[in-house]
């Protein structure tokens, strides 16, 4: 997290920090809980998180509850948003610009399979960016592992994702019956789906923690994020396949871990291929690295949250 370190370097607290840092660190004596300052990788962090799983679930449930409170359609919005976006892009790409899908799958399915995971990704990150700042009163008044905030923001989007995913069954059945050029053959590769979701979750959690923390220190992050996430969508094969000729945007596309992830959904659900390509493996490794680093920095900075929020 370059921003945090950066700030620490130039902040006036530096001299103060140095004087106290040289003091011997007393070991924290805690019998059963609050092993707060332990570094990631030690089991204490995980056991602490496991201990707070009720809280994670409660906050997830609260986010969901609040999102659909006083709305007539309620959780149906989890389906309606990707579905209506799909229809918009279907209109654009079938009546305006023509795209060549190569695989012959109906465009609606192609777009829905891109937009549902993408909505999950972008909505999760959007929730993460605001998670610490929006819960200011909890951050400053109650102690629990701060990871719970971004993770529960992801949790509520995961539930939306699952709801939206069930509609896919209906869409597939509809096109299987109505589209003469295309029929669905169930493949065992669907079983790889949890792996694809897991990689996406890893990436989302890693980025989410970094974004939540960065936005706590600098509120600009939220604005920058809004721009970047839009651009990112069009650099990913969400609503159109990326051109085979990748000379112009080559390295961006190659480094973008979301492309093999979204391709992974289409491959294992519709095309009957395993999602594992070299680029998918790269995305998986990158996700784990991002989560590891992001979580580590998050832990390191967590004690400052209550003061800086």
């Amino acid at each position: 997290m370059r921003l945090g370190d950066f700030r620490q370097k130039i902040g006036p607290q530096t001299s103060e920090n140095r004087s106290t840092e040289t003091l011997p660190r007393h070991p924290r004596r805690r019998e059963e809980d609050h092993a707060r300052m332990t570094a990631i990788g030690q089991p204490a962090v995980l056991t602490e998180l496991v201990r707070y799983r009720h809280l994670w679930w409660s906050l997830t449930w609260r986010d969901l509850r609040v999102r659909y409170k006083q709305s007539v359609l309620g959780i149906a919005w989890a389906v309606l948003i990707p579905l209506s976006t799909t229809l918009v892009f279907t209109f654009v790409f079938t009546h305006g610009v023509k795209v060549n899908l190569q695989t012959g799958m109906p465009y609606v399915l192609f777009a829905y399979l891109g937009l549902v995971p993408w909505t999950f990704f972008s909505a999760s990150l959007n929730g993460c960016v605001n998670s610490l700042v929006a819960n200011r009163s909890l951050v400053t008044k109650v102690y629990f592992p701060r990871e719970v905030f971004p993770l529960s923001a992801i949790g509520s989007c995961l539930i939306d994702f699952c709801v939206a995913g069930t509609v896919l069954v209906g869409l597939v059945a509809y096109f299987h019956v109505s589209d003469p050029d295309w029929s669905y053959v169930p493949h065992a590769t669907v079983l790889w789906l949890p792996t694809v979701i897991l990689v996406q979750l890893t990436l989302t959690a890693g980025l989410g923690m970094v974004l939540a923390m960065a936005n706590l220190f600098f509120r600009d992050i939220r604005q920058i994020f809004a721009v970047v996430i839009n651009l990112w969508m069009f650099l990913t094969c969400v609503v159109y396949p990326l051109p085979a000729d990748r000379s112009t945007t080559g390295w961006i596309v190659a480094a973008n871990p979301m492309t093999p992830i979204i391709e992974g959904y289409r491959r294992c659900i519709i095309e009957g291929e395993s999602p594992f390509t070299i680029r998918f493996a790269f995305a998986a490794v990158l996700s784990v690295v991002i989560l590891g680093l992001g979580w580590r920095v998050f832990r390191r900075q967590a004690h400052k949250f209550a003061e800086c929020v």
């Binding site: 921003l3 950066f6 700030r7 130039i10 902040g11 006036p12 607290q13 103060e16 106290t20 003091l23 007393h26 070991p27 924290r28 004596r29 805690r30 019998e31 059963e32 809980d33 609050h34 707060r36 300052m37 707070y52 009720h54 809280l55 679930w57 409660s58 906050l59 609260r62 509850r65 609040v66 409170k69 006083q70 009163s137 909890l138 951050v139 400053t140 008044k141 109650v142 102690y143 629990f144 220190f217 600098f218 509120r219 600009d220 004690h303 209550a306 003061e307 800086c308």
Partner: protein
């Protein structure tokens, strides 16, 4: 004293005054300022706690009192793990629950019932645990009729009641309470106090931050007075309250309420008021039902033939005022110039327990003029030994056992009867 449940070892905490860099623009500006050699003047630091040490034994109730900004809430936040000390060590042994702001976890759009589950989870209870205690929590809050109303329609007092009701059922080993009982009506406040006492009796360690000195005195075994980030006193709650009162009075000495500015312009000097118990020991805490002597020391520049001494008391929290005047008792002193002492003997000072101030005055009865006056009012604590009877600590006795009444015509009618 067993093993410490909570330990603070030489803890210091510093906050930065003024704004942090909230946006990248500030950071960029600061970097350029630094590169150009122009360093902006920094706003400095605020030392919230300086080398504070204390420990709380298992099952002990510790009160923390002190003026605003003394570091009370910072101490609690350090204990709760919300803040990290800059130096020193904070150790906590056991499951800890912190009531720092009980409505912090509330969400206005959720109903009372949903908020009970949410707050329970925030305070560390599992869903099954909340379910088990739900009835008790609801009964304690007294909000049965509003459980399915969104909390945004609750009043402040109702929200606080809901929050405390959840907190009161966590069963922690260590409970931190920060001034949360000041909302809610009298009945609820008493229920909270009773519940806290119950938890302490059951062995919960309590750390209680409050401005309600009487409440602190009645609940806590020991007290710490914080002043400007340092422990200025630690010990018995009654002594702590007295210490705090005295410090406060010194601090606000310049204010007219505590001060008698004209004392300087009078011909005599009142040197001091001293309270002595029956055995002649100087005391700062007077028991309502014990005899007490009040000594008035003074210095006169010219002799006064008919000197009349007066001692007054005023309750700090209200208007109760008591005045003893030697002239009204037929005692006028013939006093030479120089230092002298007179004393008034009170067989009892039957005032309700609490904080009072006392001051003395000397009058010259021939001219009816004021000779001397206490330069500052003296804080005094009255201890009614836990038997309050209202404004006054009146002696009362209940002789004999219950007498059996025969079934006959009542001696008097209990209710008004209309013919």
């Amino acid at each position: 004293m067993g093993e410490a449940a909570v330990r603070f070892d030489n803890v210091s905490k510093t906050f930065r005054r003024g704004q942090l860099h909230d946006s990248l623009r500030d950071v960029v500006a600061a970097v350029f300022a630094r590169l150009a050699g122009r360093t902006r003047e920094r706003t400095g630091f605020f030392h919230a706690l300086k080398d504070v040490s204390f420990a709380v034994a298992r099952g002990e109730a510790l009160g923390i009192i002190g003026p605003n900004g003394a570091g009370k809430s910072t101490s609690l936040k350090l204990l709760a793990g919300i803040l990290k000390p800059d130096a020193g060590c904070v150790a906590v042994n056991g499951r800890l629950a912190a009531l720092i702001e009980i409505s912090a976890g509330m969400h206005g759009d959720l109903t009372g019932r949903e908020n009970i589950y949410l707050n329970g989870a925030i305070m560390g209870m599992g869903r099954s645990e909340v379910e088990r205690k739900l009835d008790a929590i609801v009964a304690f809050s007294g909000l049965e009729d509003f459980l399915d109303t969104p909390v945004k329609r609750y009043s402040t007092g109702m929200t606080a009641r809901l929050g405390f009701s959840v907190a009161a059922h966590i069963d922690p080993d260590i409970l931190l309470v920060d001034e949360v009982l000041s909302v809610g009506d009298v009945a609820f406040r008493q229920r909270c106090e009773a519940r806290m006492r119950e938890m302490v009796d059951a062995g919960t360690t309590l750390v209680f931050v409050t401005h309600n000195l009487e409440q602190m005195r009645s609940i806590c075994h020991r007290a710490v007075v914080l002043d400007q980030g340092r422990v200025s006193f630690a010990g018995d709650p009654t002594d702590a309250v007295e210490h705090y009162m005295k410090a406060t009075m010194n601090a606000v000495g310049e204010q007219s309420y505590m001060d008698c500015p004209r004392a300087d312009r009078l011909p005599g000097r009142l040197l001091g008021l001293q309270f002595r118990d029956a055995s002649g020991r100087a005391v700062r805490t007077v028991r309502s039902h014990q005899p007490v002597d009040v000594e008035v020391d003074f210095q006169l520049s010219t002799p006064v033939r008919k000197l009349c001494a007066e001692v007054s008391f005023r309750a700090l929290n209200g208007g109760l005022f008591v005045n003893f005047n030697s002239g009204r008792e037929g005692r006028l002193y013939d006093v030479p110039a120089g230092r002298s002492r007179v004393r008034v003997r009170l067989p009892a000072l039957p005032l309700a327990g609490g904080n009072y101030v006392a001051w003395g005055r000397l009058w010259d009865n021939t001219e009816c003029s004021l000779v001397a006056e206490s330069p500052a009012r003296v804080p005094l604590l009255i201890d009614d030994e836990g038997r309050p009877t209202g404004v006054l600590a009146l002696p009362n006795a209940w002789p004999g056992q219950a007498e059996r009444l025969e079934m006959c015509e009542p001696a008097f009618a209990l209710t008004g009867s209309h013919p």
